[in-house]
Symmetry: C2
Subunit: 404 residues, 2 copies
């Protein structure tokens, strides 16, 4: 489900409207120039690295109001607002970011960067490999959630942000939130992981692997070296269709499509698209192919598979020992890809460490992807949480007195 | 999950053991010879039609002890026993069929036929089209659950069975059970639909469609005309992998595989198979390809998509109005492909008609495919139900007195 399928555009913020952040521009940060490449978790080096990012709102003079948004598998840096006045739709989380919204850009400075390994302006497998002058393809090194977070930390330092007031992300965005608070405990005041988990489940790995198999079985994939020919469109569309089913709930699919036929009065008794749900999935697959790189899909899903916050760090309770952020943990009642019990595991381990944690299971029938959809309860929870965190952070700063 | 993955062979019945039905032989019935072809639901004609079937146990002199087993997507006629003394494993439901088992072959005469559209001896897309002398491929007409049942009725008549004492099947086998009791109410004394529904859900259609897309995207598929070349193995394997995930539960995948790696001490940071769950799925996909025809997969999944017992017949309550069978309805607690609520819809509609119905949600963590696994509760329920039905049937026959 993407916003445009479900939300009338009027529910987003029109360009120029009072709730819109208006025009935003993608910016680029390049770092890790050789010989200062970033050593990745896999042991390989990567550099130079470019991060595409966008910001909205204004960084306060005290530099204490920055909120980092972490995107999921198919997201990008364009989180809110419009690139041009003529854009048909705003950034992917515009419903929650803007003046007067959950993450109020009159109060907060919002930052969102495309992950490395992606295909939306940050360095990934479709980028040109400086060593060869041609796209990396499978020559791109494997990147992990931890690697993504380390590049985001470089961006943070370049933006001269001492500490994130908060950070939030759903699904794989939540993986990054969790990695951030553990890896850089002094640099995060609060965190809002949404519809996520401390590790990808076996079922999640299984769905990802089938999607990858579909891409790699497409003869156009050619070992990842397809950039000068046809892309593995059929394989990527199948991978996306599989993923898409997991983002919806059985209940919502029933309500939205049921067993209705599309453009047919009766059964066709052939293998053409005939049920509405087939048509919807096919549309999702086809439109995804136009905007996403198949190799990025391979790399990003693999980074999800590898994610296990506690691996090599002890139990989840031990992992959170040094964490200093306070938490708002949100799960979604109908999410079967990242079920509520997985959020509860996080909450339990946080509370075992005495970390201030609010947990809420959002009642929504729309499955995993609910966090892309309008949800007043979610908006109110995030808005209230951020306000409280900001008040506490400023009170604490005032108590410490002005810096010398 | 197939039986050999989970059940030690010793839990099945060894060849020659006291609980084994021993050797069985596939038999073939051919009918609907032109010009007497069967007119299918899609409007096309099919004939001659061959059904592969097996039987075990002995038909009673009164011909009142026959139990029909209906298989699911990937099943066949070989439901119990062994084809040769050297067979490594018995038929697919051997755990429940044999002397002293749930369906006790010392009491009942068991019949199981491969569905039309299949690839295990019954007429399907890989059969030779008499009109061309070459395999049908996509020239095979679409067959529906109702068509399958109508061919099973021909077999019933040829076997001179006046009424089935009972019939049972899981998943798509349950679709056939439901179609039978509605279509031929006077010919079924009792029915045991397992892990099934009165219609395939939108989510079920969606998973089936993605599997079909994977097959049809395989260049070897060639519009279904691959029989003289390489089969679309990669596509079929992907379809099977998708299906397989839906047959397991999240809980069981976690317990069985978790995030364990296979044959690796640490992450490989490449796209080779490394998690155990990936390896398992790949094995399932690859082994399925060796035993199943890709076109049959297309036709059979499509017959599932089309299944909607009430379509064209009124409400589900109205559909069951003329039904005379009594019911044991079984669902599985961890089944998310055919969740319990779908069985409850059937139960509610049966009870609204005053039809004697026992319902049980089996507590099993193994997901949809639990009905292939050892389950003492399920065995006991089926055994007790069949005994009671047989007693009532015989009492009723005795009360009517000997036929003139």
């Amino acid at each position: 489900m993407s916003i445009d399928d479900v939300v009338p555009i009027s529910q987003g913020s029109r360009f120029g409207g009072p709730n819109s952040v208006g025009l935003v521009q993608t910016q680029f940060l390049t770092f890790a120039q050789p010989p200062g490449e970033l050593e990745l978790e896999c042991g390989q080096k990567l550099g130079p690295i470019t991060l595409a990012y966008e910001t909205c709102g204004t960084l306060s003079p005290q530099r204490d109001n920055a909120v980092l948004i972490l995107h999921a598998l198919s997201g990008d840096a364009h989180v809110a607002g419009y690139h041009t006045p003529g854009d048909r739709k705003p950034g992917w989380w515009d419903l929650f970011i803007g003046p007067g919204k959950a993450i109020d850009t009159t109060k907060y400075f919002v930052v969102c960067a495309n992950i490395i390994g992606g295909c939306k302006g940050s360095t990934g497998p479709s980028s040109v490999n400086p060593a060869t002058g041609r796209p990396f393809g499978l020559g791109f090194p494997m990147v992990t959630i931890s690697d993504m977070v380390r590049t985001q930390k470089v961006l943070m330092d370049r933006l001269d942000i001492p500490r994130w007031l908060s950070m939030t992300g759903g699904s794989m965005g939540g993986f990054q939130v969790l990695e951030w608070v553990v890896r850089y405990p002094d640099r995060v005041a609060s965190a809002i992981p949404i519809a996520t988990a401390a590790r990808l489940s076996a079922q999640g790995i299984a769905f990802n692997e089938v999607g990858r198999q579909a891409i790699m079985a497409d003869p156009n994939w050619r070992g990842g070296g397809y950039y000068e020919g046809d892309a593995p469109r059929a394989g990527l569309a199948i991978a996306r269709m599989i993923g898409h089913i997991t983002y919806l709930s059985d209940e919502q699919m029933h309500a939205k499509f049921g067993r209705r036929l599309r453009d047919r009065a009766g059964f066709g008794y052939d293998f053409k698209t005939e049920f509405e749900v087939e048509s919807y999935l096919k549309y999702q697959g086809d439109s995804f192919v136009r905007r996403f790189d198949a190799n990025s899909y391979l790399y990003i899903t693999k980074s999800m598979d590898y994610f296990d916050l506690a691996a090599g760090r002890g139990s989840l309770v031990e992992v959170f020992e040094g964490v200093r952020a306070e938490f708002l943990v949100l799960s979604i009642s109908s999410d079967w890809l990242f079920p509520t019990y997985q959020s509860k595991e996080i909450v339990k381990a946080l509370k075992a460490n005495g970390i201030p944690t609010t947990f809420l299971e959002l009642q929504s029938p729309y499955g995993h992807d609910s966090f892309f959809l309008p949800n007043e309860q979610m908006s109110a929870m995030i808005a209230g949480f951020l306000e409280n965190v900001q008040r506490r952070v400023r009170e604490a700063a005032a108590a410490e007195g002005p810096e010398p």
